[in-house]
């Protein structure tokens, strides 16, 4: 079975501070991992996928197979980054989500 764990329900930082949202996974095969973001009153949006190794809105995430992690990072948080962030794993032909972390960036 596949599982995604996001240990923090809430992460509160000040504007300009670094951010790291943790994600660990459990999967027997080769994982395909994603970060999704849900801003207030908006639909779920894809933020990052690990195979693209891209940076979106200043966020990056590196897959660490040894630690089975896919943490989301941003060096300098902005107030507009405040949202719910979900880590997700695609495997066995389905997408499974973690419980989500609410990021709150204060001025």
């Amino acid at each position: 079975a596949q599982r995604v764990t996001q240990p923090e329900k809430l992460l509160s930082v000040f504007k300009g501070a670094p951010v790291e949202l943790k994600c660990n996974y459990s999967y027997s095969g080769s994982p395909e991992l994603f970060w999704y973001v849900q801003y207030s009153r908006q639909r779920l949006q894809l933020l990052l996928r690990h195979i693209s190794r891209e940076s979106i809105k200043g966020f990056t995430a590196d897959l660490n197979k040894g630690e089975t992690s896919f943490h989301l990072k941003k060096p300098f948080a902005q107030e507009e980054d405040s949202a719910m962030y979900y880590c997700a794993l695609a495997g066995f032909q389905k997408l499974v989500f973690g419980t989500g972390t609410r990021l709150l960036v204060s001025p």
Partner: protein
């Protein structure tokens, strides 16, 4: 990436009744899924909607309660049957495939059962 239109966006229903939610994708997708997001919680996969055959349900979800149809590669419906207040939730559909990576989501249906 594909765009998914989902309707209704919200509804308030009486207990014991049923509601059918529709999802239309603007391009063919290989896989379609239905999720539930209960208040303050993450997304839980209900089932995979298979084109031309019965849906594949996750543990805890059954066809009698959540019948699903997928007559073609761009359309699917989820029915929430014999509703109770515990079914109050946001229901989302998702599509994957068709030459792009990642999963796209509909805007969700906010269901309140009274």
């Amino acid at each position: 990436s594909a765009v998914i239109s989902q309707k209704p966006s919200r509804d308030i229903c009486q207990r014991g009744t049923s509601l059918t939610i529709q999802c239309q994708v603007d391009s063919q997708v290989t896989m379609m899924f239905w999720y539930r997001q209960q208040p303050g919680q993450s997304l839980t996969l209900i089932a995979t909607a298979n084109q031309g055959s019965e849906a594949t349900y996750e543990s805890g979800f059954v066809i009698d309660k959540f019948p699903i149809s997928r007559p073609n590669l761009t359309f699917s419906t989820l029915t929430v049957s014999n509703m109770s207040p515990e079914d109050s939730s946001i229901y989302l559909c998702s599509g994957q495939g068709g030459g792009w990576l990642g999963y796209t989501f509909g805007s969700g249906t906010r269901l309140t059962v009274v």
